[in-house]
């Protein structure tokens, strides 16, 4: 690899090839050992079929000027995904759609005499609201009698977390952050309620599957050459699909329509805020926008309507679920909603802490929206203003931020049950803290409220 060529650290497990960046562009090397499988993928019509149905990321064969090593068969330049997200950042429906996509791809592959040799949730990314398989090298020629080698991985990456989210608590998706190869089935089995044993598909694919793993854990069995008939394989995929389809999640006791209604804005204030944010966005370049604390996604929509590639983060899985179900529908703008606790954002994890990127590594965004957020960080989480300013300056080039004063009823609500230990939470202190990292471009008072909107541009740190 030359100075301008950098291997992507998450791409190392599969000896069929790897992904690297060269001169700012992303390439995938297909190794000679994978030649037969790659040629079959392309020649059989499977690739074309999957790409035309938006199930697989498209690529073109490329000729980057890199030192060609002996392993290289061909170089591919895949379609670029604007924001890489991870399963522990997805809401229930995103994980479920990714699971169904994986099974649909596997069914389609079998039609073309190929099979998926892995079923990692990390191989799926969302493009314009659609889950798509990212890894062109996930396919292998199907041999008659061959079991699905990725069955365990599918159960751990998809079925177990979905069942836990559906039957126990939606926040258990965060177990995926700790268990990068999916939730161990014995753990899922012990956490799931007894009634899941009455569901034949969950009894089979999670509880008995976990028992089998435990039974064989300390035994050496020669598994080479064990056969599964084609109809058995199709039946297995069909059973997994039906298990996934039957899993549902909705926030307890609420209807989507009235889940969000609790703001202290008057209509005039809301309209005024929307107009000012739109006005600020119109002065900025169309690029990547991160809406932090996006809630119902009103402001994400305003940014997306202006051509920005928007990721809408929220700590509440219900808000993310709602946004995912509503955005990107026919004729609507597209936003990628993700679950994120900004006070503990996704870290760099996996092998050598480099396999999965932290939030910071996936930035900076061109613009960050931090609307009705500052009081949650400063007061609910005791974060000093200068630390918030410093962190936000690492996330973006331009910042649209709203200051919510202590006199605001939402702040009063946060202070109602605790001592006010925030004498420095003032508009002057806020402006002073942010002036260390940003240049103030504009500021406007939100009509009919005590709040202020700021447009700031990042600048080099001053002493």
């Amino acid at each position: 690899m030359t100075a301008q060529t950098e291997a992507i650290p998450s791409s190392f497990r599969d000896p069929s090839g790897f992904v690297f960046r060269h001169d700012g562009r992303l390439y995938r090397q297909v190794n000679t050992s994978y030649r037969e499988h790659y040629d079959r993928l392309m020649a059989s019509g499977l690739y074309q079929s999957l790409v035309s149905d938006r199930m697989l990321i498209a690529h073109t064969e490329a000729h980057p000027k890199v030192a060609r090593n002996g392993d290289a068969y061909v170089f591919l330049e895949p379609q670029v995904v604007s924001f890489i997200s991870y399963p522990y950042e997805w809401c229930f429906s995103q994980l479920k759609e990714a699971a169904l996509l994986t099974l649909d791809v596997q069914s389609r592959a079998i039609e073309y005499e190929m099979t998926l040799k892995d079923s990692s949730a990390y191989n799926v990314q969302f493009v314009d609201g659609h889950p798509m398989l990212l890894d062109t090298l996930s396919f292998a020629i199907y041999e008659q009698g061959q079991p699905w080698v990725a069955y365990r991985q599918f159960c751990q990456h998809f079925l177990a977390p979905l069942a836990l989210m559906s039957y126990r608590d939606v926040r258990l998706s965060q177990l995926l952050r700790v268990h990068l190869d999916g939730i161990p089935l014995d753990l899922a089995s012990s956490l799931l309620p007894m009634r899941t044993r009455l569901r034949p598909s969950l009894l089979m694919h999670i509880h008995l599957h976990a028992k089998s793993q435990r039974h064989f854990a300390d035994k050496t069995v020669n598994t080479r050459g064990r056969k599964v008939s084609r109809i058995g394989l199709l039946g297995l995929i069909d059973s997994l699909r039906s298990a996934v389809k039957k899993l549902h999640w909705r926030p307890a006791g609420t209807e989507w329509a009235d889940y969000y209604g609790g703001t202290n804005y008057t209509d005039a204030a809301m309209l005024g805020k929307q107009a000012t944010v739109a006005e600020y966005l119109d002065t900025l370049k169309r690029g990547m926008v991160w809406d932090l604390g996006a809630n119902t996604g009103v402001f994400s929509r305003i940014a997306a309507e202006r051509g920005a590639r928007v990721t809408a983060f929220d700590i509440d899985p219900a808000a993310v679920e709602k946004n995912h179900l509503e955005f990107c529908k026919q004729g609507d703008v597209c936003v990628l909603p993700l679950v994120l606790d900004l006070t503990n954002p996704s870290p760099a994890t996996g092998w050598a802490n480099r396999e999965r990127m932290s939030l910071l590594e996936r930035g900076p965004a061109d613009t960050v929206l931090a609307l009705a957020l500052i009081h949650h960080l400063a007061i609910s989480n005791n974060l000093p203003l200068h630390m918030i300013a410093g962190f936000l300056s690492e996330l973006c080039d331009t910042l649209i931020i709203e200051f919510v004063p202590k006199s605001d009823s939402q702040v009063q609500r946060l202070l109602a049950t605790r001592e006010d230990v925030f004498p420095n939470y003032t508009q002057e202190a806020f402006e002073h803290a942010f002036a260390r990292h940003f240049t103030l471009m504009r500021s406007e008072r939100v009509a009919d409220s005590e709040r202020t909107l700021y447009l700031m541009r990042k600048e080099p740190l001053r002493d």
Partner: protein, 79 residues
């Protein structure tokens, strides 16, 4: 479900043993994942059960499709 609660472990052991004894070799797959011994053997049992169910499902859907088609073509023939 009483069956699964009382003797699921025993039934599973018998099925796993049967699977381990009766299967014949297939060609080596191009795979880098470890499927896990317990998962691998278990899949062989489960695929047999699911395959039988799937075959019945397919058979039944074809029968239904035939009846639907014939009743539709009957109604199409009506003036």
């Amino acid at each position: 479900m009483t069956l699964s609660r009382l003797s699921s472990g025993r039934v599973l052991h018998v099925l796993l043993l049967a699977a381990a004894l009766t299967l014949t070799p297939a060609r080596e797959a191009h795979a880098y994942l470890d499927p896990g011994t317990g998962s691998f053997i278990f899949q062989i049992v489960v695929a047999t059960v699911c395959g039988a169910g799937f075959a019945i499902k397919m058979f039944w859907s074809r029968i239904c499709a035939r009846f639907t088609r014939s009743s539709r073509s009957d109604s199409d023939r009506k003036p």
